[in-house]
Symmetry: C2
């Protein structure tokens, strides 16, 4: 191997968990990485907000002048791990315009501006890699972009946010309610001080946008993703889930939708869903991630591993870095963005799904019939129904609870049904409404 | 996308399950594939042993003159799906020497001659892709070659042979013995008329050689792989497995071995192993494949899906074909072979593993002690032992059965222990000897 080759200059932006691990491995495994690339990787500088001598790296590598760092002539590849979208966007665009290849893990930025970034990379003839943006160490971007490049992806469904999966796993295993599971997750460092991006599903939605863009060769941004978080999931929902042989997971789902008119569109959506216990995603617990891909020829594939954390994410970053560096040494570029299909985005209303609905009703004759009629009116077919009495603390029967599992119906028809039930005379409250993943009709 | 680009000429060698499916998809998805490649893929010819008009493709595409087909000026990429090693080798080498990129699924050939093929590809400056050679549709080669290019792979353990997994799953689920499970598998088309390559582990060993080569940047051939098949696995072994909370799977294991002297080596081995039911590979049933990869930074990753069959294997072939074609259109090449590490092959004897041993012994005082002494003499520490009486048909006690689970010890020490036990006075027979996967010390 040509270790006498001109070294490849690397700049790392950001020195958090992931950045520190990338810098550590660049140093510790320098010889191996050089052999794999065909030239040594040399760290030219690390962009940080605060230059100080307590950062665990030689202080002379640090700089807070990101603009100067990404413009340096001896930098070939910029690794962006800063986090906030605006400075990351500025730095990446500057790097690409300066002819540097870029490796980034910035899912929020990609979900918003992948088009602009890809265009800039294309114009400059450089690589833009982002395996680490979705599901940490788990190879997902590369399999979708390359391994399945000759297949037709039908559906991608994944657990791609570790924080919410940790919270939901805890609720499932301990019966805890949402607030106390979140508090535990925060105390253990699994949830950030401000957990909004995770618990409201925004992080999962950004990843859904990235996955859908690649899987369907179509530009999908975070704004195109229908998104419900996990803040309204209750301990009672988990009891219902158990009764149905299910657990509840926050899923990012990307789907090729075949319209009645023969035209295809793309659905990207995030919501907490009932997942049958025999489904491969049901067993993915704690902070782990998993992605199930269904393709016309390949059938169902599953990818599983650690979706977050410094070292696992650094593994994905370094894989991209080695690939970008190999391209510098040997010539050539990684796969370009492929957005030729330009499929329209399907609104959530047209998506067929199964719903689980739990209602508290007054305990009078004819209630079940009139509740069932609300479903029937909107052509929502009921698959299973259970009615049980509700008693107060004195043991006196005060009402009933009706739990309905529907067959597949459009989200719009189901939403209308729920709206009607909420204002129905005999219904005192709609206790839970959950979609169900991958279970029959 | 530049669909006005000069088309990329493709030759397919072999028209079995996989070849037929590749040809079908090339035709059915031509527009999509052209958009992804940036130029149309045009099928120039199909190499077959028998040219006839009942092959389901236009007869004018067929030729039995493979030499001429792979030398055609208008062929850019050759897809080799013939099967037998010798003609495949000849055709691939000729194709590479003629400057064609090659996509192949030929694991036996790769496990034998990957070095020669890679060298020839390198000299010609063309691509050699073989994602379909291991685990069918499941992306494994590309993740190992690219996604983990910046990480240190520690271990790869996989179920990569569908036939044996089908047989072992059936034995586990039904209690059937090996012969009847094999007969069923043959009747259902899961085993070939001559199942030797599968049941003796040769197919799994070829795949282990390919995986180890890539994971450890070292040339590993099929001859370097220690290989035991499944023909000696008994219904009684499965009973023992169940008692231990395990099942039995044929595993292909590739491992980075840290020697006592500080030097590293590579172990590649195939054998039926006890797999604890909570291990992710235990649940991989029927004809499915799964590969677990452990890397220093990424931690444990798992890849799961259909490991064989026409359509799944075609998916992997077409992914490679699109990548090779993109490189033709845009310039550049896929990752070169990386064999810089040149680690030595570790003999099976130095590999530490846990053993399960079941013995029939005479029912005399002191037998357990003298059996245990054979283990102790070779520094094999016993973790668990169970002794139970054996009665004949008349209900009379005629001997005892001793089942031992050891702690980790070297394979050599364990083999010596077994040899000693086989000639031990009090031991009437050694009924089973099984290694155990990934369970503690």
């Amino acid at each position: 191997m040509a270790e006498s080759q001109k070294p490849i200059g690397v700049a790392v932006l950001g020195l958090g968990n992931v950045g520190s691990e990338v810098v550590r491995i660049l140093e510790a495994d320098a010889k191996d990485l050089a052999a794999r690339v065909g030239a040594p990787l040399e760290l030219r500088g690390i962009g940080v907000r605060r230059v100080a001598d307590d950062r665990g790296v030689p202080v002379e590598l640090l700089t807070d002048d990101i603009d100067a760092l990404v413009a340096r002539d001896d930098v070939d590849i910029v690794v962006e791990l800063m986090g906030p979208v605006k400075p990351a966007s500025k730095a990446i665009l500057a790097a690409l315009e300066n002819g540097k290849s870029v490796v980034t893990a910035n899912k929020a930025l990609l979900a918003q501006s992948a088009g602009k970034l890809a265009e800039t990379a294309e114009k400059a003839g450089v690589d833009l890699y982002f395996e680490a943006a979705v599901a940490g160490a788990i190879p997902v971007i590369r399999p979708l972009t390359q391994s399945l490049a000759g297949d037709t992806v039908l559906r991608v469904a994944g657990i791609v946010n570790g924080t919410t999966n940790y919270i939901l796993s805890a609720m499932n295993d301990t019966g805890a309610d949402y607030d106390s599971a979140l508090a535990d997750a925060s105390a253990l460092g699994y949830a950030e001080a401000d957990p909004t991006a995770d618990v409201e599903g925004h992080d999962a939605a950004a990843k859904a946008a990235i996955l859908a863009s690649i899987a369907f060769h179509t530009r999908v941004t975070a704004d195109d993703v229908y998104c419900e978080g996990i803040t309204k999931v209750t301990a009672e929902d988990f009891e219902s889930a158990k009764a149905l042989g299910c657990t509840i997971k926050l899923l990012s789902i990307c789907e090729r939708v075949n319209g009645a008119d023969g035209n295809q569109s793309v659905s990207a959506r995030v919501y907490p869903a009932l997942v049958p216990l025999d489904h491969p995603l049901a067993a993915v617990g704690g902070a782990f991630n998993a992605v199930v891909v269904e393709a016309a020829a390949a059938g169902r594939l599953m990818f599983y591993g650690q979706g977050a954390g410094g070292a696992p994410t650094a593994s994905a970053v370094l894989g991209d870095l080695v690939m970008a560096a190999r391209n510098r040494v040997h010539g050539g570029r990684g796969p370009r963005e492929s957005k030729y299909a330009k499929l329209p985005i399907a609104p959530i209303g047209v998506i067929p799904t199964r719903y689980y609905v739990s209602l508290y009703v007054s305990d009078k004759p004819g209630v079940l019939s009139s509740v069932a009629a609300e479903f029937a009116k909107r052509e929502v077919s009921i698959a299973e129904v259970r009615q049980e009495g509700v008693v107060n603390e004195g043991g006196e029967r005060v009402g009933a609870r009706i739990a309905v599992l529907t067959h597949r119906a459009t989200d719009a028809a189901l939403s209308e049904t729920i709206t009607a039930l909420e204002s129905h005379d005999a219904v005192s409250s709609v206790a839970s409404v959950l979609r169900m993943e991958g279970a029959g009709e």
